[in-house]
Amino acid sequence: MRSVKTYITGAIFAWILIAMVSCTPGSCFEETNAFIKASFYRNDVRKLQPPDSLTLFGLEMDTNRIYNKASNVQPALLPLDADTTSCTFIIRINGITDTMTFWYSSYPHLVSMECGYTFYHQLIEKPSVTDNIIDSVNIGNRNISTLNVENIRIYY
């Protein structure tokens, strides 16, 4: 008889716990933006080193800067436009300006019930970059998601 009561009591506590959890309204705590994670490397020593000053913004978006003379940015986070298949950024490293253009495809991704949907991207080809201060850009991981994974390396 005691074992029956033990089963029932255990089940009741489990039920109350689950009922309490299921009644809690959900909130979005996850990352909902997929960025290109760009790490900066010094070309002469091929070592990871953030620029002393970084300014970054989208083409014709000068008034809305992602970074404005920021220091110690590592990695830089570059958002892509899900409505188009290419994005051009103006990047100013230590006062010298270059442009970078990315080509990609976009697809919807469910973050969670609480957060809703975002767009993930896949880089189609190597970005086109001017060479005023940037030496080269290498792709490490083509899949642009909310995961904290390095996507490109910028050698300057």
């Binding site: 029932i8 489990a14 899900a82 469910l110 809703g116 975002t118």
Partner: protein, 250 residues
């Protein structure tokens, strides 16, 4: 909250069952009626009738194999709608479950009337889902899009501990907690279903739930089950004998 009310009702009923069980006289064997059961889940329709948009109904048939094991087959239908500030979603579909129920009560306690045990089940769902609209905002602005209707199938496993008691002749009530593991949601991982019939949130690998059942029983056979008598523990007797001996020597 309706499920919590249901819990309170069952909690009020269960102490009565323990009183009945306590009156059972010890015998060498007991006659256990094997039954065919037909059950319906009641909390889903009640919640729907109170004005919620989401409907989930479920019914089952089970057949006793012996005093411990029971074959289980269930079917259900669900209709789910959800919307929040950045998307709306809808899903409807059916699901099937099959498996076994294992009664953990001793035969002399259960007597074919009471059940406390676990259910092990495999579930298969077929559903149609759609995201009529969603929007996403980032540095470049706001993108509005939608995902059209798509028909999918997926499956899951369920572990379901619970209790059931016969209230009247051939009529029982019971409830169970369900712990489920998703095997395949029917989509790639980018577009997991927000709701998966019979399972719950398809974006998560595990889900939980509570079901409250009304059950109609049809006895079809009686079997004689021997009662295992408890063997007294020899260790305790030896210790007592030793103590008595030492007292006598003193």
């Amino acid at each position: 909250m309706w499920k919590t009310y249901a819990y309170i009702i069952s909690f009020l009923i269960l102490p009565g069952t323990s009183t009945i069980m306590a009156q059972i006289q010890p015998e060498d064997s007991v006659l256990i009626p094997l039954k065919i059961r037909a059950g319906i889940e009641v909390s889903g329709p009640i919640i729907y009738l109170t004005g919620k948009n989401n409907l989930s109904t479920e019914g089952y048939i089970s057949v006793d194999l012996n005093e411990k094991l029971c074959l289980y087959a269930g079917v259900g239908y669900s209709k789910f709608k959800y919307s929040q500030y950045n998307y709306s979603y809808q899903n409807k579909g059916i699901f099937f479950k099959t498996g076994i129920d294992i009664n953990l009560l001793k035969p002399e306690i259960s007597m074919g009337k009471y059940w406390a045990g676990i259910g092990l089940r495999y579930g298969l769902s077929a559903y149609n889902s759609e995201t009529p609209s969603f929007w996403y905002r980032n540095y470049w602005g706001t993108v509005t899009s939608s995902l059209g209707p798509s028909a999918r199938m997926g499956h899951f496993l369920e572990f379901s501990p619970g209790v059931r008691a016969e209230l009247f002749r051939n009529f029982s009530i019971g409830w169970s907690v369900s712990l489920r593991r998703l095997i395949y949601s029917g989509t790639n991982k980018d577009l997991s279903p927000i709701y998966f019939p019979g399972y719950g949130n398809g974006a998560k690998p595990f889900s939980t739930g509570i079901s409250y059942f009304l059950v109609f029983n049809i006895p079809f056979k009686k079997i004689k089950v021997e009662i295992k008598k408890e063997i007294p523990e020899e260790v305790e007797e030896t210790t007592e004998t030793e103590e008595r001996t030492s007292v006598t020597n003193k």
